[in-house]
């Protein structure tokens, strides 16, 4: 039984701005029993790209960097996030994370599966697609994707280019280093004045079971800081 037969996904849209990458992935996926739809975005119209993918395939494998050489102003993370909102299974992959990790973080709650480019073999792709199907169609997140409400203490504000990042210590996450969070994920009024959030503790929903800091997502930041000065008297 081929990987394609096992996952009941037959036609995969491979989305990338580099034709060479698309060709390599196509060869691998065809050998594993899939049909492939090549999608090389050349328009700034995200909805047109989404329609092309959802109209032509059962699932999508999408590179994060889509901006090379064409009039494209959206990222693969945004494509996958939009597909997730449409309950369409997809997997994001990328070769270089460093410069784009906060663009990805902003969308990570809606990126059901993520693979480094050097791990794009059919077995891993099939596993990632299966996780994506479970999350977007059946509402079952993998254990490391399950969100937990927990306190986050904002310890720093960093501005790099046009990006404002707050750094937060996450209660319950095994890593001891602060994690960079796009400031626009904070709730109002903190998102517009993120410097005022430094030193405060907020509740947010985070996938605490994830060990890789680049795969953490942050959503549902609450606007009221946690009451931390003294303990309330139990009723």
């Amino acid at each position: 039984m081929t990987v394609a037969e096992r996952t009941s996904l037959h036609r995969i849209a491979v989305v990338d701005d580099e034709e060479d990458v698309v060709r390599v992935l196509e060869r691998r996926l065809v050998r594993a029993g899939y049909e492939v739809q090549r999608v090389i975005p050349q328009t700034p119209d995200l909805s047109a790209v989404l329609a092309e993918i959802m109209g032509g395939s059962d699932a999508c494998l999408c590179d994060h960097d889509l901006r090379g050489g064409h009039q494209v102003d959206f990222s693969g993370a945004e494509v996958v996030a939009a597909l997730t909102e449409n309950h369409f299974p997809s997997v994001l992959f990328t070769g270089v994370l460093s410069a784009e990790r906060y663009v990805i973080r902003r969308n990570m709650a809606r990126i059901p599966a993520f693979l480094p480019r050097d791990e794009l073999d059919p077995t891993r792709i099939a596993r990632a697609l299966a996780e994506s199907v479970a999350e977007v169609r059946e509402g079952r997140r993998a254990p490391r994707r399950r969100g937990r409400r927990t306190p986050v203490t904002i310890v720093n504000l960093r501005v790099t280019g046009t990006e404002s990042l707050v750094e937060g210590l996450v209660a319950g996450w095994p890593g001891s280093e602060p994690v960079g969070i796009p400031a626009d994920l904070l709730a109002d009024p903190w998102r517009s004045e993120p410097a005022n959030a430094v030193g405060r503790t907020f509740f947010a929903t985070i996938n605490l079971g994830e060990s890789d800091p680049d795969h953490l997502y942050f959503e549902d930041f609450e606007s009221e800081p946690a009451q931390t000065d003294e303990l309330l008297t139990p009723e």
């Binding site: 937990r148 927990t150 509740f203 079971g209 060990s211 009723e235």
Partner: protein, 350 residues
Amino acid sequence: MPPGTENIHAVVLDVGHGNAAVFIDGDEALVVDAGAGDLVTDTLERYGVSDVAALVISHRHHDHTSELPALLSNPDIRIKKLFLNADPSRQPSSAFETQLRGALNDSIRRNGTQYQQANVTLGEEMGTENLSVEVLSPTAELCLAGVGSPTDAGGVLHAHALAVVLRVGVDGGRSMVMGADLDHHGLRGLIEDTDVDLKADVLVYPHHGGLAGVGTERGEEELAKELTAAVDPEAVIVSNGRERYANPRREIVRGVRKARTVPPIRLVCTQLSKECLAEVVRDDRRLDETLSSLGAETGASCSGSIRVDLVGEGPLLPKGAQHLEFVIDTVGGSALCVNAELVVNESSVD
């Protein structure tokens, strides 16, 4: 089996180097410690349990408290009582303590959580309908001395000396001693207190099978042997991790295994000790598929999270046989838990 006791068991969670255990009593739970990750939450979800009758934190070190703020903050979990070991050596201004206060206030506001910050609490307050709890340690003497007070040997009492050790059991069923990180001061007091009955079916070994601070290899082995003999368990569970430490220590394992040779004490480690195998093994067949384990994804688990049945005539460890099969097939006779030469040739305590 008395009516209503069919679904009473414990899960010792693979949280790496740390401790977390969930006792399930029907639709209620007792939680003892909350180490790294979100496995206590995951376990409660898996059993469909949202009411935690009591959550006990043995001492305020991160490998026992990490998940606590998230548990208190979870809108789907109602923690009725929280027993926090007082520890004056902690830093109240640290980010974690600040987060803990925020989460506890939130839980008090939403659920009316009652909390008590103390070393000694009556075990009766921690139990559920069918689970009885006894606080075995710290002793009143150690509590009166307190963390940081001088010892006879010229040192000072560490927070581990005042870690809360519990025996949790079912009347007419099985019981477990939860050893926390109790060090040699506490262990010596516990073993020598003739009023305390330590007998239990399972000993969750103190301090992840690491050193108790005795100072000599021979002394560590002797203490491990005395403790294990006093508990006289069917199984000893070590909640260990691979990343920083090579636990359980050989001298501890020697002491445990020498405490009783017939029938032999079953030794189970949640993660593969580096002493047993240098590399991890990616093979999920050894794991209980109904539970999550921190070491599952990397292959670091040995037993992984393991269930202990506290009632019934079935095996104490329902997945114990498949774990032992894995150890014998994969690690072989050099595994600490089965290595005969460890007890015979390396022994320093007769």
